[in-house]
Every structure is written in C-alpha cells, then in structure tokens.
C-alpha cells in the first residue's frame, strides 16, 4: 500500500531522476530566508540608531580599520569563488581538485576570522567592549554603534565558524565518496550557506567601515 503510493508519485515515473535535487535546494533556501530575517532585525536596529545618532555613528566609525576591513572583504569574496569552484569541480568528477578547493575555502575563512580577531583584540585592549571602561565614557550613539558592531560582526563570525566546520565534514564526505558527481546536494547547499554569509558581509562592510 505504502510502496504503491510511493512508486505512483516517484519522480522516476515523471521522467526525472531518483534524487530530488530541487527539493534539497529548496530546503536550504528556506533556511536562508529565516537567516535573512534574523540578520534583518539587526540591520533594522542599525538603521534606526544611525538615523537617531548620525554624528555619533560617524565619529565612532573612525575607529574602524579600513585596510583590515577591505582586505577581509576581499578574502571572503575570494573564499566564495573557491567554494563555487569546489562545487563545480565535484559535479565534473574532479574529486581531488574539489577537496583542494574546499580546503582553500576553509583556509580563507580562517584567515578572515584571524583578522576579525585582531580587530576585536585591538578594541578590547583599548577598553572598547560591552561595559568596557573606555566604551562607557563615550557618547550614547557611539556606545550603540560599538554594541551593534560587536553583535553583528560577532554573529557573522559565528556563521563563518559554522561554515568552516560544515565544510570540514564535506571534505570528509568527498574523500569517502559519500558525495560525488551524482550526489552533490550537500556540498551545493553548503555552498549556498557560505555565499549567503558572504552576502551578509557585503552589507556589513559599508555600514561599519565606510561611514566617513
């Protein structure tokens, strides 16, 4: 009974493949929509407070290191290229190349986190951290700017960290043949996640580093 029902609606009958590739991607995209609204709430807060304290935001943003921020943006964009090429390589059956490219993505993501850590470290050393002595002596708008800076880049960095961990699993799957040219949905979905995190940074960069 159950089997009958299943075969009757199987995609093979409709001339498709036994793997529901679109269904797997759709699930990932829906998760990304929830992520969009998750980050969206913070972007909303940012825009309200920037509207209320334009001068304070302007002044506080001078503390951001434009060179480190720009280099980090370039690194993350490059990591997205490596990820896109890794998915393409796996689909073409170039297993070793795909593993190398996934490794490159992890390496670039790690460099991004190290640079982010240097930026945070420099602020923390100068007493700019939540409830820090220097921070509390600043104007209200500046305190809010740094609060948003830490929460938004922190949440973003957490996503990069999760992405790195997931890609590490993908490298294992690729090596063991769990995923391959015919079953690459996991890697493709990992790619979608990684690119989404890249898109979030594309917006964070001008909001924190380019208010001059």
């Amino acid at each position: 009974m159950v089997d009958e029902a299943r075969t009757a609606t199987s995609p093979e009958d409709a001339g498709g493949s036994p793997i529901d590739a679109l269904g797997k991607r759709t699930g990932m995209w829906f998760f990304l929509f929830t992520e969009l609204l998750f980050f969206g709430g913070l972007f909303l807060l940012y825009s309200i407070y920037r509207y209320k304290f334009p001068a304070d935001f302007h002044q506080a943003a001078a503390d951001e290191n434009l060179i480190l921020g720009s280099v980090n943006t370039a690194i993350l964009l490059t990591s997205s290229l490596a990820m896109a090429l890794a998915v393409a390589a796996l689909r073409r059956g170039e297993i070793r190349r795909s593993v190398r490219l996934q490794g490159t993505t992890i390496a670039l993501g790690s460099v991004f986190l190290v640079i982010k850590g240097i930026e945070w470290g420099s602020k923390i050393a100068r007493g700019i951290y939540p409830n820090g002595p220097t921070l509390l002596s600043l104007k209200n708008g500046e305190i809010i700017f740094f609060g948003l800076y830490f929460s938004m880049t922190g949440l973003h960095a957490l996503h990069v960290l999760v992405g790195i961990a997931v890609i590490a699993f993908m490298i294992r799957f690729t090596r063991r043949g769990v995923i391959g040219p015919d079953r690459y949905a996991r890697l493709e979905n990992t790619g979608l996640y990684w690119h989404f995190v890249d898109v979030v940074w594309i917006y964070l960069f001008p909001l924190f580093y380019l208010i001059t």
């Binding site: 498709g16 493949s17 529901d20 590739a21 679109l22 991607r25 759709t26 995209w29 829906f30 929509f33 969009l36 609204l37 969206g40 972007f43 909303l44 825009s47 309200i48 509207y51 209320k52 434009l66 720009s70 943006t73 370039a74 964009l77 490059t78 997205s80 290229l81 990820m83 896109a84 090429l85 393409a88 689909r91 073409r92 493709e188 790619g191 979608l192 690119h195 989404f196 890249d198 898109v199 594309i202 917006y203 960069f205 001008p206 580093y209 380019l210 208010i211 001059t212």
Partner: protein
C-alpha cells in the same frame, strides 16, 4: 547547453564554466574598490546610498552566479522575492513610526 559540457537534469542548476566564476569574482573585487573610492571622495549625502547600491549589485552577482539563481525556477525566485519583500516591508513600517515621532 551551459558550456560546462555536462548533461544536466531538469531539476539541477546550470553549471557555469570556471571562467565565469572567476570573472564574477573579478567584478566583485572591482566593485569593492569602487565602494572604497566612493566612501573616500565624500560625496555626502549620496555616499551612503551609493555604497548600499554597490553592495546590492555585489550581492546580486553572488546570488545570480555563485548561488545559481540564474537557472533556478520561478518558484524559488518568487520565494526569495517574498523574503526580501517581507524584510523591506518591516523596515518601511518601522520607519513610518521612527521618522514621525515627536
């Protein structure tokens, strides 16, 4: 026929040749340079808007090419539109309050 030399099932995304991904990456870096220049030359009050516009172009490049939105069906595109539309609506609704407070 997506230039990748691979047959693809109807429910798969179209694979681009490696050159396309590299070209998109190069374009992203050019826009990164452009956004820094725009921020540096102080064209306020248009600087912030220009930088958000450039960010949106970069995001679109990532979505269309790296995330293969180009070859996705209408269903996913509409759903993405609904998600972005919902966020835009929330922001507009909030500002309809914030902008007019006394």
């Amino acid at each position: 026929m997506d230039g990748s030399g691979l047959e693809r099932r109807p429910d798969e995304t179209a694979l681009s040749p490696n050159g396309t991904y590299v070209a998109v990456w190069a374009a992203l870096l050019v826009f990164l340079g452009l956004t820094i220049v725009v921020a540096r030359i102080h064209v306020a009050p248009f600087g912030a808007a220009a930088n958000l516009l450039i960010a949106t172009v970069k995001a679109a490049l990532v979505l269309v090419f790296f995330m293969h939105l180009r070859s996705e069906g209408r269903f996913l595109k509409i759903m993405l539109g609904v998600a972005i539309g919902a966020l835009t609506f929330i922001i507009m609704l909030t500002f309809s309050d914030v902008l007019f407070r006394r």
